[in-house]
């Protein structure tokens, strides 16, 4: 039995509490016929997600459609969410990233980013759980610059204690890696 909450947003927490405490019988709010005021419905439009059983019939169709779109190349530009240097980046082609560390690659080397979490275009999105397979997406980048960061100043000072320390920290920053290529290499 699916309990559908059709209650106003502000009171939903209260009502949901009441529902879950009753035995698993579906009840509908017919008892309290409340007059419609400005706060009866939520302030933004109600979103209704489709019925799960009906939706399951469309799943193979949707997958086929997306496969067709990808195979025929009907997308203008792709964006990808990539896990790289312990951070997640949302990148597109001809994008620049600056990272706060040194990579072992030299300038001009191509880097393959293996951990892709999400790939999307205008009409479809592929979400990895948590990662997408490496035969599915291919994300490459070029190392453009290897420099040092701007001199960051770290200062500690305690008043009335004659204590101050000043330190200038310069980290290596593999400045921008240009992400040049997101592609679907193998698609059946």
């Amino acid at each position: 039995c699916l309990i559908v909450l059709v209650c106003p947003h502000q009171a939903s927490t209260l009502l949901s509490f009441v529902f879950w405490h009753q035995s698993s019988q579906s009840t509908s709010p017919q008892q309290g016929l409340v007059a419609k005021i400005s706060l009866t419905s939520s302030l933004w439009p109600e979103v209704k997600h489709p019925d799960p059983v009906e939706e399951a019939k469309y799943h193979p169709e949707v997958v086929q459609k997306v496969n067709q779109l990808i195979a025929s190349g009907h997308y203008r530009s792709l964006f990808a969410v990539v896990h790289f240097t312990s951070k997640q980046w949302k990148i597109t082609s001809e994008d620049l990233i600056v990272m706060d560390n040194a990579l072992e690659a030299e300038c001009g080397d191509r880097i393959w980013m293996g951990k892709v979490l999400l790939v999307g275009a205008d009409d479809f999105t592929l979400m990895g759980r948590p990662l997408l397979g490496k035969d599915l997406v291919h994300v490459e980048a070029t190392v453009i610059e290897k420099t040092k960061s701007w001199p960051q100043i770290s200062m500690h000072f305690w008043s009335r204690h004659n204590y101050q320390r000043k330190k200038i920290i310069v980290k290596p920053s593999d400045c921008p890696t240009d992400k040049q290529h997101i592609d679907f290499p193998l698609f059946v």
Binding site: G120, P130, F157
Partner: protein, 149 residues
């Protein structure tokens, strides 16, 4: 015999006072009032500015995370989900995107965010069915755990 008058002619004088003062004043040029010109007032202000910037680097991380959470909350409410439900059911569906990226998607990729919200809502409903369904309904599709080895 020691010549004592020679050291008195050759005094050691500070010749680069200007540059030592500029080292401090260059960090104070954008301050307001006399502390952007007068060395005595600038020294303290510049010191406090450096200390505050070091401390702010830690607080920036907290502040940005709170900002991302606010933005994700606003975007998920537009799709009928509250933030705790959205985040928890997204993690339960094994989608491990962090808050920074989800906030960026909510701003620049609204369709992708809508699909994420739909996924979270669907997983939530499957969770409710599994908890209250007395074992008669089939298992949910999005509740299946994927394992990569």
């Amino acid at each position: 015999m020691v010549l004592l008058s020679a050291p008195r002619w050759l005094r050691s004088r500070l010749t680069d006072r200007f540059w030592r003062v500029q080292e401090v004043l260059k960090y104070a040029r954008h301050f307001r009032g006399r502390k952007n010109r007068c060395y005595k007032l600038a020294v303290g202000s510049v010191r406090r500015a450096f200390v505050r910037s070091t401390k702010a680097r830690k607080e920036k991380k907290r502040f940005l995370r709170a900002l991302w959470i606010t933005r994700i909350e606003a975007a998920s409410l537009e799709h009928g989900l509250k933030y705790p439900a959205f985040i928890s059911y997204l993690l339960k569906s094994q989608v491990e995107l962090n808050r920074k990226v989800i906030a960026d998607l909510a701003i620049y990729e609204p369709k992708t965010f809508k699909s994420l919200a739909a996924l979270a809502q669907r997983r939530r409903q499957e969770g409710f069915l599994a908890a209250l369904g007395d074992g008669k309904e089939p298992e949910g599709i999005f509740s299946r755990m994927v394992q990569h080895y």
